[in-house]
């Protein structure tokens, strides 16, 4: 009853922000950086995208600003967490609060508004129209008329998978995570590799934020990342940072979001449908960690 064309069309825009953040998080996870500042990075990206649009008058400016802001957050994380050897959790808490404070502060300092900012200068990211494909039922709704970032996100899944498994920079990222001293012994600084992973993660999260603020809607609301960074983290934990699994899991969350949105239309209160992804996240984690711990127990027994 639920799966009509409007729902299918909305799935990609719900899963894309989460997917982008999840790819970034997977890179960090592989490099053994426990980055739980995804939420803050997305928020900053969403805000920077709006700022970029307003000041350059083009969506590309928005994307550019988001990339710079995300990279900056990645570098800040790297400075305190990697270079200074700080606790990843504390650095993340700091960055998440910084993102909330900084966006609210700049919102008032730059635009003189509080809470929400709407402006005709905020340009939407163009959508890719696939011509004849659009007429195919279901598939057309799913594939055609989606923003460039949707396609970018999906391509990034495969690109990152290939990169991690085949490219030697990708191998370095995994080496930095698995055995940093081995990497150091061949003359590569694990700190640098981790910094690169963090910057990439910051950029991907920020692009996820841009999808929220200049594609799904064209406005910025304080706290508009609304926990999506945590959902992305859950997806990565559930998939043990294996990219081929991240895409379907993200789509599942997108589907739940889309259905929740539809149920709002049917009169269910927004607050309850918005809690759905988090309940799903908890259930998913229970299943994932159950299996993991059973597997670990089995391994432990075979070792003994």
């Amino acid at each position: 009853m639920f799966l009509d064309s409007a729902i299918i069309e909305s799935i990609p825009r719900f899963f894309t922000p989460v997917l982008l953040a999840a790819i970034g998080s997977a890179l960090c996870e592989r490099a053994a950086v426990f980055n739980i500042a995804l939420e803050g990075m997305m928020l900053v990206g969403a805000f920077a995208a709006v700022v970029g649009c307003v000041y350059t008058g083009s969506w590309m400016g928005g994307i550019g600003f988001a990339i710079v802001a995300g990279a900056a957050f990645g570098l800040i994380f790297s400075f305190f967490g990697v270079q200074r050897g700080g606790d990843d959790i504390i650095v993340s808490i700091g960055l998440n609060v910084l993102a909330i404070g900084l966006t609210a502060f700049l919102l008032r300092a730059l635009f003189g508004v509080q809470g929400q900012f709407e402006d005709p200068r905020i340009v939407e990211i163009p959508k890719v129209n696939l011509g004849p494909v659009a007429d195919i039922p279901f598939i057309g709704d799913l594939l055609s008329g989606q923003s460039i970032l949707v396609w970018f996100a999906v391509l990034m899944v495969f690109a990152t998978h290939f990169f991690l498994n085949n490219h030697y920079y990708g191998l370095r990222i995994r080496a930095a995570g698995q055995n940093a001293s081995a990497l150091r012994s061949v003359g590569v600084s694990p700190e640098r590799v981790k910094t690169a992973a963090l910057v990439a993660c910051g950029i991907l999260c920020a692009l996820g934020g841009a999808q929220l603020s200049i594609s799904n809607v064209t406005l910025f609301t304080e706290g508009m990342s609304a926990g999506r960074g945590w959902i992305a983290l859950v997806i990565v934990m559930m998939c043990s940072a294996r990219l081929p699994w991240i895409l379907p899991t993200a789509i599942l969350f997108g589907l739940v979001d889309a259905m929740g949105f539809r149920m709002q239309g049917l009169g269910l209160p927004q607050q309850l449908t918005e809690a759905l992804p988090y309940l799903l996240a908890i259930v998913v984690l229970i299943i994932a960690f159950r299996r993991k711990s059973i597997r670990q127990q089995a391994l432990g027994q075979s070792d003994a």
Binding site: I76, G86, D87, L98, A104, P269, L272, A281
Partner: protein
Amino acid sequence: MIRSRYVSIIAPLAIIFLGVLTLLAIPQTRPVVEGFLNGAFGGRNHFNLFSTLARFSILLGMAMSVLVSFRAGLLNIGGEGQLVLGGLTAALVGVYLPGPPLYVSVVALLAAMTAGASWAVLAGLLDRVAKVPLLIGSLLLNYPASYLASYFVSHPFRDVASGATQTHRIMTEARLPRFPGTILDYGILLIGATAILVIALEKTSVFGYRVRMQGYSYGFARTSGFPTGALYYRTLIISGMIAGMTGYTAVFGLNQRYIDGMLTIPLYTWTAIAAVLLAAIIPLITPVTAFFFAMLATGAIGMERSADIPREIGQIVQAVIVLYLAGVGGKMLSGGTKEDH
């Protein structure tokens, strides 16, 4: 090592102190500092000082909740959900339970503490039974709690006539009395007593010792025959109870109703976590850092009035402090949890 840590704490304090002096000396920037001090301590009849204290009360409560679990090495960062559910439960009891005021107030307090504790235990069960790490489980539970509270106050229990998303006013006689002539209520005494109890018991009781040892080394606690399983849940229950109680004082004291977002928008829980970290998880110092962050927030509001600087500058400064701490403090949290499970 220890000396260098002291230097790294004292050096920035000295820089801040000199910076403030400089700002005071320059006529153009003087209003900024004055605005900050006025916002934190001044106002008519020291009105702002009492707002600082009211904020301090909530921060201290949440800081104690965070402290109890961090001290035991449990990364319960779900204080927000526990606080929100405590506040909501207290409000519902306060509005709908008939009876003598004292009875209503006490029932509300107990119900709030139960609600907070249950939410914390739920995160604990997720960790222990389903193996979802406490850090993630407790955090994820924040969202359903906030959305649930938001739903309750915007639909079934909303005071529609008021126009805002809030519950009805609680029974007037049941509210926490205020200190004469101020906006500060007796909730701060409740929180203060709890803080003293937590700080004292942590140092003197067997339970406090065990919790501390478990925090330092889970393996040591286990080998020494501590009941680690029971300790785990007891710690979470206490942590959740304090969070729930803090929610009760916010509802029965300051606001006398539950308003949507009143406990989440000011980032009380994250600020409390920052306060505990700034105190290096040392109980006796935590109240000082909690007061510092309360002052930072109300001072920033004062600066907004006097110098037109958005008040969010307070949150930015807070975040910078946390980041700086992470840089000098090393692995304060992750180190203790490696041996878990």
